[in-house]
């Protein structure tokens, strides 16, 4: 196996390992919402939830890096090992960064805005490493084919042609880097602090990772569907473009200090979010109506991702973008759920990519992980999210509309939180089963 594929496999393995950490941390954070928390002082919620958020971010970005590298590797017209030594060194640097980040989280060294951030040094390291990933992958591609699809691939061509998947993926990674940079900018007052925090999170997570996820997911579609690759690529470019504008408007609408502009941004975000979601569903349905004989579970994970993103970023995001709703609901469990479902949708796509890519690397058209982990994850997320949604609605009504005290409202929500935790208790074993299945079917790697 080439170094490229070896690195992809190792990134996939890191993704699965990080996901296991996330499942444990999120469960530990969630139980603090019950009535009694014996670790309230020894392990504060901010620390464990911050750790869960950071690990989830690292899981998604590692998995999506694997996706981009795999797609770019497949594009190589020759198997000439370009920049392989650089690639291996970069992977080692990335591994060191992951280890240090997890350690920083475990030691409670997280800080900063937007719930939790890595220490400043690791933030800088992440930005540099992501930029290096982008450069190393882009150097494999022929820039003259960025806007034009090549008609012929010349003999002995060493640079691969751009395709729409890589274009969207590279744009997403660039936006992610930009979001991280904005997150480091100093603020002169709290309003600016809030604006920068919202935009940083919007650029990095929603626009950046979202675009990367769309690219990887649509690439998976080319494997599981008999629809023409060119059509799928065109679908991706259009859907990704509309999602970019919708999510940019949604992020801008959260800023809240430019009243008239925010009204327009919020309404625009709502409409475009719904349109983009409908477009995604329609294209996915059309592609999957013409399925290829693929026996991995990539289709299952892809569909799960579409559902989660449609409900979270699409429906819920559209409603919460409306100015009057957002003013009332900002900071409730509903806004948390919106971001959570979006992240889980991307996670489902990452897990689907891993299924497909690892199967291809093994040379077998068969599932890598079974149906049990899929259904555990799906049902756990679905049921838990439903309970969390109910909690958010009740909180909005009692706390924000009826001005009931926060503490009294949270006490009333404990039964719903218990149901949410029950969902996580199904989700976490599903993740564990997925990891076991992944481990049980390794791909030989280059030493």
């Amino acid at each position: 196996m080439s170094d490229t594929r070896s690195i992809v496999y190792r990134l996939c393995a890191q993704t699965v390992l990080l996901l296991v950490w996330y499942a444990g941390a999120s469960l530990l954070a969630a139980v603090k919402f019950l009535s009694v928390d014996p670790l309230a002082v020894a392990l504060p919620y901010s620390q464990v939830n911050g750790f869960a958020n950071v690990v989830l971010h690292l899981t998604l970005i590692t998995g999506l890096l694997a996706g981009g590298l795999y797609i770019a590797g497949l594009q190589s017209i020759t198997d000439k090992p370009q920049n392989e030594r650089g690639l291996v060194s970069l992977w080692r640097g990335w591994t060191l960064f992951l280890v240090l980040s997890v350690l920083a989280g475990l030691l409670g060294l997280l800080e900063g805005r937007a719930n939790a951030e890595l220490p400043f040094v690791l933030d800088i390291a992440e930005i540099i490493l992501l930029a290096l990933w982008l450069v190393i992958i882009l150097r494999r591609l022929d820039s003259s084919t960025l806007l034009n699809t090549p008609i012929h691939a010349g003999q002995g061509t060493t640079r691969a042609a751009w395709n729409g998947f890589l274009m969207v993926w590279a744009a997403g990674l660039t936006l992610c880097i930009a979001g991280l940079l904005i997150g480091l900018l100093p603020a002169s007052n709290m309003l600016s602090e809030r604006v920068l925090g919202v935009l940083s999170q919007g650029l990095c997570d929603t626009l950046g990772l979202g675009s990367m996820g769309l690219a990887v997911a649509f690439w998976v579609l080319t494997r599981v569907s008999n629809s023409a690759t060119a059509w799928i690529e065109a679908s991706l470019l259009r859907v990704a473009g509309v999602f970019l504008i919708a999510n940019a408007l949604s992020s801008a609408a959260q800023v809240l200090h430019l009243p008239n502009a925010i009204q327009a941004a919020g309404i625009g975000a709502a409409l475009l979010s719904l349109f983009a979601t409908a477009w995604l569903i329609a294209h996915s349905y059309r592609a999957l109506s013409n399925r290829a004989p693929i026996h991995t579970l990539a289709v299952h994970w892809f569909v799960l991702g579409v559902i989660l993103l449609s409900v979270g970023s699409g429906l819920l995001g559209a409603v919460l973008s409306l100015p009057a709703v957002q003013a009332a609901a900002q900071g409730t469990q509903l806004t948390v759920l919106q971001h959570h479902l979006g992240a889980m949708g991307l996670l489902a796509w990452v897990l689907g990519f891993i299924n497909q890519a690892v199967a291809e690397m093994r040379g077998q058209n068969f599932r890598i992980t079974g149906l049990v982990p899929f259904w555990c994850v799906a049902l756990g997320l679905g049921g838990g999210s439903l309970a969390f949604f109910a909690a958010g609605v009740v909180q909005l009504y009692l706390e924000r509309l009826m001005s009931m005290g926060y503490l009294e409202t949270q006490a009333a929500l404990v039964p719903l939180y218990a149901l949410w935790i029950l969902g996580l208790l199904i989700f976490a074993p599903g993740v564990a089963f997925y990891a076991l299945g992944f481990r049980a079917r390794p791909v030989e790697t280059v030493a």
Partner: protein, 252 residues
Amino acid sequence: MNGGRIFFTLCLVLAVGLIGLVTGSAFHHQSMPPSAAAGLEVWRATGCEGCHTLYGIGGNYGPDLTHIVADRGEAYLREFFVNPNAFHPDQRVMPRFNLTRDEVTNLISLLRHVGGEGTDASVVLDWPPNPIRVSGTGGFSVSSVSIASASGADDSVALGKTLFGQNCASCHSLEPDVKIIGPSLWGIADRGATRVAGQSAEQYIRESVLHPSDYLVEGFPDVMQKNLGEKLSADELDGLIAFLMTYTKDRS
């Protein structure tokens, strides 16, 4: 030319331009007072945003703190930061962060700035649309969910009992000789009549709720909320007093 790629590129440019425009707007505001800026450093270093929100942005474990200074007062917050475990003992607990006096001062300056007190209105946000309380029943009619009897007096005592639990129990105990933050209110119905010459126990309790600083008990800090008179309606205040008047020294 590949139309799809052109379309995506245009959307990307538009999205980036929009984000850039809004990011640029973040740098047109005046600076915070130095103490508030120092408080922001404390806020970040302590990870407050991991649990609490300001302007609705932050964690989902603790209450929004945008207007907490107006809601609770500085003295209450100072005491709270020193010993958060003593407040809301049967509810969600905040860890103690061992903040220095200066850090507490700066943190309160930040929260005061965020809440808009003494600050240029252009650098704060008019949010939320309805008040967000840390505790209390807000717009609910508490008596409608009480288990009081048909007697109006019993309804008032039940109302007062609920209000005491929500507003007072975190600082005052009803057990003899148990001190939390403030003095125990065991026997207040008798003791209150002896505290100020010419005042009945009811009058003393009423004045203590409305103007806490006027009748400080020796050995206790002046940290009681000063805004209960605005928070409680006339009926609620009467109910609270009626409840406390049931706590005589002979009460079993």
